[in-house]
Symmetry: C2
Subunit: 387 residues, 2 copies
Amino acid sequence: MADVSRRGLFGAGAGAVAGVGLAASVGLARPSAQAEAAGVSGQTYSPFGAHQAGVTTPTPAAARLMALDLRAEVDRAALGRLMRVWSTDIAALMAGRPAAGDTLPDMALGGVSLSVLVGLGPRVFELDGLRQRTPVGFQEIPAMRHDRLTDAYSGGDLLLWISADDFTTVAYAARRLVHDAAPWADLRWSQQGSWRGIGKDGQPATGRNLFGQVDGTGNPRGEALDRAVWSEDGWLTGGTQLVVRRIEMDLDEWDRLIRHEQERAIGRDLATGAPLTGGDEQTPLDFAVLRDGEPVIADNAHSRLAHPDHNRGRTMYRRGLNYADDTGSGLIFCAFQSDISKQFIPVQRVLDDFDALNEWTTAVGSAVFVIPPGMREGGYLAQGLLE
Amino acid sequence: MADVSRRGLFGAGAGAVAGVGLAASVGLARPSAQAEAAGVSGQTYSPFGAHQAGVTTPTPAAARLMALDLRAEVDRAALGRLMRVWSTDIAALMAGRPAAGDTLPDMALGGVSLSVLVGLGPRVFELDGLRQRTPVGFQEIPAMRHDRLTDAYSGGDLLLWISADDFTTVAYAARRLVHDAAPWADLRWSQQGSWRGIGKDGQPATGRNLFGQVDGTGNPRGEALDRAVWSEDGWLTGGTQLVVRRIEMDLDEWDRLIRHEQERAIGRDLATGAPLTGGDEQTPLDFAVLRDGEPVIADNAHSRLAHPDHNRGRTMYRRGLNYADDTGSGLIFCAFQSDISKQFIPVQRVLDDFDALNEWTTAVGSAVFVIPPGMREGGYLAQGLLE
């Protein structure tokens, strides 16, 4: 993607998408016409542009993340073939067309907010010829004290993150892409999650996790978002890095707390998402306010410890998904940043040591992926790395 | 529900709901204003009326079915206490209010198409005092040749079928209701599924299963729907009977078929759902049409064998849900009828013997439930049975 320019970031395809993503994902109340234009459903995203769709585009209702492992014999050239196949499939599917040779073409729909985000796991950068091209700061997450990781949701050489308005479309795209990867890669794990990105009034809203917490308010916007997320590191320019953590929530114990205890652990009002120091959801947290000599936003409150002010300005862009199924209940925590080593890891070390929420949350899965930039028409994903 | 009259069926609450359900579920193209009025999302259903919501109301995107088993010591009176608790919870939740004592009240939303359908399994009618009140025709499904049933998705003394626009709301309601049942019943199994009940144009549509098949076209409507579904059997008047079958689909093999083979097995055009004998989705099947001396709709085509014309007029109301997760892919087939012994069972025997689709489908779960009528304001579910 050597030809990506700053102008390119706001070109016809990705620019429109990025603008929509920003407006919708921060959950601002908007007049109705704008809300429709920034709709979290019924969208068609371009597979082309500076960035892949599915990073800062609004989070639609349904999602599946799948990690695949490359077969032992796959080398750089073979990975390039897989990326060409997937890129062709993705360009068709996101445009509402079936992939070539699909026997279920009627399942392909436009206007269903479909995006397919492709990522590359650490082992890709152990392939011959790619060792020197590992993005700066891309690394596995070190063991944290509160982790109880299982292989069932950890690791992986490749990521497919399929988002859409409905799970039927997600299942259709997932099958096609896993099937077409069969010569080169096998499914390692799969996680499904959902998000309700609209409020009571039908307007875009931040959404709640299963603790009942408004989750994602503090996401950066505008230039701060661009700085936090998009890489300017060589071939990865316009791409980003992703951490996926499956966080099991102890909802039974959470339910036993009184509301004051829940809000104290978070540092925000549960009803509105506003800081306990007052205002509305978008009001900045005021960490200096005391009541009876104690900080209103507790020293170990999640929103204090995760805040950029307490992390040397470090921030990242979170796009979470709720899950509740036979495996348990919790959050598929996903965070994009340009440098995992400087963003997620130091913030997570602080949270692992002090976060009040640790009492009711446990990481049971962990994976990291490099998210290549968007593709050019006629090009393919990760072309800048692989060609 | 001795006070249910024919007039009651079209009263303010359930009547409006039933009308909407009919318009939306048969997938007719409607002018836009009507489609909004008959929206499959953004609805608020009444918990009161002649029928429970969640039978003929439109199928929203997200659903969970949960079966619970009564504890050994639960008798008729204790079951009545559970039903009163659930009824109070359900009346609050469906109105968008939290259940009493809920520590996560912000999760309760109106206008999210929430319905909670409650059912009673066979063992309820073995409790003292209830043996004589088993509804006519209510029975377990006999073993079928193609069944490969597992306990993981079979049986159960009670059913909760929670439907809503989003899985966060479903998870919230599910936790509340299972929690509040804890003194009397334990979770036996849980199945999640989804449905896309709108078409490309945003209008209500029949929807597709994971075979790509438009699924549900043949559902009865109007008076035929009323006759097929609603019981007039004593205390169950206004209620119905439900069969839940988890049907695993062999999608890999299905994908290997050419389109003609898929359509031949179904008897309908995959793109439109129209009969292979022509017309559009709503055109009646014409079983007499031959081509080269062979019936155009094959003798073993699913749509022929399941059709009322080949089943002495027997019909039922289907409300299916797609699932695709770590357990597999398929359809949670749900069929409502006034008499399982005269409707589902004889039709299923024919299908088990001859249906072309048997090659790619396997029932892995089976359960039956009596669905009590709707409750009165100030009353509770199954009151006519238990009081």
